[in-house]
Structure formats: C-alpha cells, structure tokens
Symmetry: C2
Subunit: 495 residues, 2 copies
C-alpha cells in the first residue's frame, strides 16, 4: 500500500543558486522489512471517496509505483493525493514537502509536487517521476523523515455491538502526512515513517463498525485510534529495535484527513499551524521539559525509584550548593506553577529531574523533548538509569473541521520540524505565506513549492562573515529543517 515516501538520498550534489536535481544512486540496497502491523489490502483499486478523476489518480499513482518495483526509502520523494482538492471540482492542488539541513555543505532537500486535476491525470506519474526530487549533501546526517499516503481501511468483522458481517463497502479512506524528526540516530524516524500509518489503519478498522454510543463521538474514536496507533508503534520499536537497529527516537507530527475533518497529532517539538485569511490557528503544542515539567515531576514524585537516587523531582532556579544546606531557596514541585521558598535538605542537592531553560532544557540532563517514539535504549549519561519512563509516546490530537469554513487558495496548513520554528515565529510564517502566494496566480501549483522553499531557506539564513544569518542578523537554524505545505482550498472553489 505504500505509495510514496520521503527518505534520505545518498548522493551529494552541488548546492548553488538554483535547485540541483540528484539522480538515483543504484548501489543502495533495500533495508530488511519490519513486521507489518496492517497488511495491505488485496490487489485492486479500493474505493476512494470523491470524484472519479481523483479515484483514478490515486489508483494510477499506487499502481505505477508498484509496477516500477522501486526499492523503498532510497530516494527523496514525497507523494500525496491532496484530499482537500476533492472538495472542489476541477481543482488543482499542490502538496509540497521540503527537508533541508541548515548548512549548504551538507544539505538535503526533498521536494515533490503532485498536481491533480482532470487534465493532468494521464501524465501524473510521468511528469512527477524523473525530476523534481532534489537531494543534496548531508543525506546520512539529516535525521528528519516524512511520509504521505492514501490509506484504505477495510472494516473489521468482530466488534461487540457492531454488525457482524460488514460488507466491503463499509471501508474508509484517509489521507495521511507524517513528519518525523529523529534524534540520536535516524532509525526510529525511518521506522515510524514507514509503519505508523499502518498502525493507524489497523486501529481504524473498528471505526467502520461503529454505531453511535452514549458520549462517544465518531471524532473521539478517530482520536483514540491515532493515540493507540502511536502506542503500538512505540511498542513495535521496543520489540524490534535490536533486529532492525532502530536507534534513537523521533518526534512525530501526523496529519490525517478523514470524512471532512483534519486531525493533527503531535508527539514532540515539531509544530503545525493553519494560516487562514492571514489568521494564525495553532494546531499543535510542543512537548518539552518546560511544557511538561509538572507531568515529569509528578512521575518522579510518585515513582521515586525512577530517579535512582541521582535526581530530585524538585526544581530550583539554579543548582543548589552543599554549603546552602539549611538555608531557604526557591523551588517548584509537581503541583506548582509559581515559585516558593523551602529549607534546603540533603536530597535537594541531587541533580534536578528537569533543568535548564528554553532549548537548553533537559530531562535528566539528557534529552530536550518529552514525547515521541523510540528512545528505548536511552540512558542517563554515565549511568544505567533509563529515561524512557519519563517520555510519553502519546500524541495530543487537535481537530479542524474543514467543512465549517470557506477556504481560499492562500489558506494552508504548515507543518514544520523544530528546525523551522526555532528561528521563525508564527507571524513570520504567516507573512511569508502572504508574500509568496500573492506573487503567484491562485491556480499556479508551483506557488506552494515556492512557499515551502521560502520557509526552509528563510530558517536556514544566508552566509555572512560570522556564520549563517537571518535578515535580523541572528543565527539561522542549526538543525534539520523540514516543512510540509498542505493547501486547504483550491481555485476550483472560486471558479
């Protein structure tokens, strides 16, 4: 069922004034397969929703890919059938993904633009195939991964209280985008980019059997399915981490479009915003030692054995010195948002479970993000104390009802890893959306590509005397930068 993937190329090409296109390296071998949580549907075209042209396009895309027998994950490619285009007949919508390391000497850019429309279906795959994939430098170091999919969900047959024999027509189709920001190795991000949507599909199988129950909405079932899928993905990583070298962990930011609603699920410090008519609508929250301080402290308080006698669950504004024993010092515990004074005791001399500020904040002096997948082997530096119990694999899911608003071609959902958001504010992103999109015709599909490029390059900065600088002379992002631009409206709605 895998239609396209956005992976790490291995070919270095020149980074210059334009976008250099890297060809496919033939020497790379396909990796060993993971256990498939959700086997693909039988051969044949599953019933996609929407107009006939779109169904054909989806099928053509998937079948073309299969015919080519491409080795998976060996090129930088991101393919999507934009779901929102189905809302407006005749629309042409682009979905753009850009991934970029911050330094030109080791840069990785993945970009594919897919254009759907009645006149473009026939040569869709061929116009897509040879070019428009840019991959330059730093391929082995860029730990961001991405994925977009059209996923068909066949109904399950044996859920209590649901019809026993659902027909095949009860299946669902959802559209899926995932952005995975790896750390301490790229294995977790790669595994998640390949399998998370399959776990979601598996969980959503019960959805087609759903009949209205007290206080349980359809929406809350989709949210529950996504939440459980994240947990099952994490458990699979734990099981298979030795066999498949699933090193490190990753933040996961996932978008699902299903039955008129957009579900944005976030576990980590990537972020999503909608820019609608210039207005900014946050669609996710970041999960860091600072934003999750109280959850971490509560766990340390209730399960002190997890602190191994090395850490204290209390927070202090600075490291407490032995000579301060018995003196009063400001502190915060798991219940407090403010600071108060306490008398320093021996236990307070331990290292704080949560310390540091902003991007330097760390759990157990080690990791700066508190939700995500993987990290099952992560230990405190120079210790055997595991950090995973303090990390949560559960996403927070926000829902946006696409049918509640009129959208124009300039309304977009922007997903980005922290490489973007560390140096770019929401307002700056909205300003870039306005500036770039207004320079193109509404039906010019390259406008979204240009927007993604502008955001990524804007976050990277330009070389000056002392490093790569932003226009305000601050340092550009030193992290990998990946951006998805998902248009919410199409020109069809204005014709």
């Amino acid at each position: 069922m895998r239609v396209g993937c956005c992976g790490q190329g291995t070919r270095r090409v020149h980074w210059g004034s334009g976008w250099d296109v890297g060809s496919w390296p033939k020497e790379v071998k396909p990796p060993a397969p993971y256990a498939d949580p959700s086997p693909a549907a039988p051969l044949g075209v599953p019933p996609l929703p929407g107009r006939g042209e779109l169904r054909q396009a989806g099928a053509a895309a998937r079948l073309s890919m299969r015919r080519e027998s491409l080795p998976p994950r060996q090129y930088s490619l991101c393919l999507a059938l934009p779901p929102f285009s189905s809302l407006w007949p005749g629309s042409q919508v682009a979905v753009t993904f850009l991934s970029l390391a911050s330094r030109p000497e080791r840069v990785c850019v993945s970009k594919v633009v897919v254009i759907l429309g009645p006149g473009l279906v026939s040569n869709l795959m061929w116009s897509l195939w040879p070019g428009r994939v840019i991959n330059a430098g730093k391929s082995r170091h860029n730990e961001d991964q991405a994925c977009c999919e059209v996923v068909y969900v066949e109904g399950r047959r044996s859920v209590s209280g649901a019809p026993r024999e659902p027909s095949r027509g009860q299946g669902l189709c959802f559209y899926y985008w995932g952005l995975f920001d790896g750390h301490a190795g790229g294995g977790a991000a790669e595994m998640a980019s390949r399998l998370l949507h399959r776990h979601i599909r598996e969980q959503l199988k019960d959805l087609s059997c759903w009949s209205s129950q007290k206080e349980v909405t359809h929406e809350s079932l989709v949210i529950g399915a996504i939440e459980n899928a994240f947990q099952l993905m994490d458990e699979q990583m734990a099981r298979e981490r030795r066999g498949h070298q699933v090193e490190g962990g990753c933040c996961a930011l996932v978008v699902i479009y299903l039955l008129g609603k957009v579900y944005v699920a976030n576990a980590g410090d990537s972020r999503a915003i909608i820019v609608r008519n210039g207005e900014i609508i946050p669609m996710s929250r970041e999960f860091t030692p600072e934003t999750e301080r109280q959850r971490l402290q509560l766990l340390g308080f209730l399960k002190p054995e997890l602190l191994g006698g090395e850490f204290t669950h209390l927070e202090f504004p600075r490291r407490v010195q032995p000579k301060e024993l018995g003196q009063k010092m400001l502190y915060r515990d798991q219940n407090m948002t403010g600071w108060a004074y306490k008398k320093i005791e021996l236990e307070d001399l331990r290292f704080p479970l949560v310390c540091g500020e902003g991007k330097k904040a760390r759990v157990m002096a080690t990791i700066g993000v508190t939700r995500g997948l993987g990290d099952h082997n992560l230990k405190v530096c120079s210790s055997t104390l595991p950090i995973k119990p303090f990390l949560s694999c559960f996403p927070e899911v926000q829902v946006y009802d696409l049918t509640q608003y009129e959208h124009c071609p300039d309304d977009v959902l922007v997903l980005g890893t922290d490489g973007l958001w560390d140096v770019t504010s929401d307002c700056e992103v909205a300003a870039t959306v306005d500036r770039v999109l207004s320079a193109y015709e509404p039906n010019d599909p390259s406008r979204y590509t240009a927007l993604a490029q502008a955001l990524v390059l804007g976050a990277r900065g330009t070389p000056r005397d002392r490093g790569w600088r932003l226009p305000n002379n601050k340092l550009g992002s030193g992290d990998d930068i990946s951006v998805f631009i998902i248009p919410l409206g199409g020109p069809g709605s204005y014709s």
Copy 2:
C-alpha cells in the same frame, strides 16, 4: 486583622417580595479559635497603599470592628475595601456579595455594600453597620462561605540571598476575596474563610525580601505563595479536624489584588469571569471528575493500591457486564482523550474510578469535585477506602494585569459558586451585567448590588406549577448560590 466575614446567620425571617433584614441573634456563642497561621500585625495602622482617604477608610473599618468586639462568624456580613477604587481618585465603588439558597423556604442571603469615597468615609461604618445585612432562612444548611479582607504583609528578615534587615517599610498590602462552597458539612468552608488569607499572608512575607533571580518573576512568587498557602490550609484542616469539627470539604475560589495585578486562584467548581466592555474573559477553570479524568486515572495507574481492588482506573462508556468478558469494548486510559477498543478482562469488571457525565460525574462513585480543601475523612460509601489521595488542594492561578487595560464602571469581575454557573452561561451573565448596570448611573453604587441580586435570583428562578423555573422553563439551581461582583473601573476615571 479580620475586617469582615460573610457567615451563616441563624435567624429565620420572612422571604417575600422585598429584602427582609434579619437582626443579630444574641444567643449564638463564638466558636473556639483555630491556630492562627499568621498572627496579626501589631496594633496600629499598617501603611496601606493608595490615597490618604482610602488608607483612613481601611484603618477606620478595622478599628471600628475591633472596638465593637463582635463575635466572629455570626452574622451575614461581607466587607471589603475595594482595591480598584484606588486607581481613580474620587471614585465610589461598591463590592457586593450575595449568597442564596435556591429555595425560598430555606434561603440565606448575605449582602453588604461598602461605599468608599471622600464624602463617605466619616460615616462608612455606621451607614454599613445596622442594615444592609440580609439573612433569611436555611442558614444552617447553606454551606457557602465568603470572606473579604485587606491584609498587610510585613517582610520576613531571614531569606537567603535577600537583604538581612528589611525595614518595616518593605511590607505589602493585598486585597482579598474568597468564596468557599462547602460539601458534606460546613466546617471546612468556615475554617477556610477564616484562615486561608492568613496563610497567604504568611507565604507572602518572603516576597518583600525578593530580589530578581533568573527566570523567577515577582508574579510567579505570588502564585507560588498562593499555591503553598492552599496546601498549608489543607494540612491545618487535617491536623485540627477533630478538635474543631472541620467536617466535610470545600471548593475555594480566591481573588487577590496586589501591585496592579489580579490573581484568581481556583480549586473546585466555582468560577470567575471578567466582563469587560461586553467581552467575556474566563478567569478560572472548573476541576471536576470530567476535567481532571486523566490526572485521576494516572494516579490510579501509578498507585493501584489506592484503588483498593474495588476500582479500575480505566473508563468505559457504560458499566461492563460479566457476560461481556472476552468481548471488545470501548475504553479510555490516562493517556487518551479519544476512545478505542480493548478486550474485556476480569479487572475491567471493577467499578470505574471516574464515572458519570456532567454534574453526575463522580470520583469513586462519591464526589463530584476534584480540587478543594478538607475532605480528609471522606471515604468510599460502605468502605474504608479514602478518597482524599485523588483530590488536589492546589489551585490553578490565573493573572490579570489591571494596568494593561482601561476599565469603565461596567467592567466587573464576577465570582460565583456552581449554584450560579450550573444554570447560567457566561453569555447570560454578560447580558445581565449589561442590562442591570445600564439601568443605573455609572456612579450609583447600588448598581452592583442590583447586579448581584439579579444574578442570584435569576439562577434561583421563580415558582411555577412544577417547581422553581428559569425563564426558559428549565429548573432553577437546586444548589446554594453565592456571587461576588467586583467592579474593575470607577467613575473617577471618566471625570
């Protein structure tokens, strides 16, 4: 230091078309004193901030009360020196508190209007004293309590890193309102109404010694002081509950005005909103089994011994039946906001830790509010299992910077117990604010009293064929109803 209190009268008087004034019953004896967490300042007038008239008024109020040697807590009286009046010279501001049970046959109304202004200072206490205290019926059953205070905080001398010898002039003054909605007895609410502000004073003593430290703001110290004060109040209730018959528990909604900022601290299901120029600004969140489900479930998951083998931390849409063992059923755990399916096991047949919806939601099938003070003796019905470990005494504190906005006389902070909010939406409160206040001149102090009356009586409803009904024919509130109206602006700002 106690200036006024809003207690339970004991005299039944007629409830008719007007407000009947109850006289003071002489036979009531003062209760035994609690341990004072924060002894009053030495005799003499502490330096109140603001204009001379207000300082005199504050001093006059406290001294007059002391001279009268009134037995505490034996009349319905609520006195406040409105802090916000000090922002506008010559202002006249009313602070109104109304408490009312929902049924006329057992009604308790406490109302005092205090008017402050240059021309009114001399006869302030005397115009206040004999009348304007209304107390009718249901006194022994109304479990709401209230308090407002002007509290002087003298600086402490021995905080590490702070000046060793602060002068007396480093003291602070804060203004205080507290609303306490008791349950399972009135003891906790009464104790909190008498002592919580003293705990806050004690905690704020360190504040006057504060010097700027990394990442610790003045505001976060005030919040920390309030949080710690709630905890200490709760611990004192636990210590003294036998000696003083501190039965039951209470929700606590507290407002503090200090150095230009309004701090709203809430532990329970009372609520506060600001109505500013018609706009509604929520200043608190409710803490109920529904809003705190995940916190409760997490505790049950991490400390299963607290469930005593009687409860499961999982939630199901309905009670699971033994015959459903092995079947699939929807559930939610501590990490989930959505619902997913699981196979029913033996442990799932236990009663859910959190069950029910809306006002019927309960923790351990017993209590419908999850934060507050007291409840140290609360047990699961027909069991020795304590519920207190699942209840939090910590408030959530929200801050409103009064200096950031221009306020007009129609801008008010509305505090109410759930008796008000169960049947009145924020929009209805805002509409009542507009309707009532616009019927009065901006400088007419009775406008706020009328507003409080309108809100309380509106929530109670009027008698019809089948019970007390609201205008929309729904049932009026069956709970005690207490409301504070605190004006944020005064006419002085428009002269």
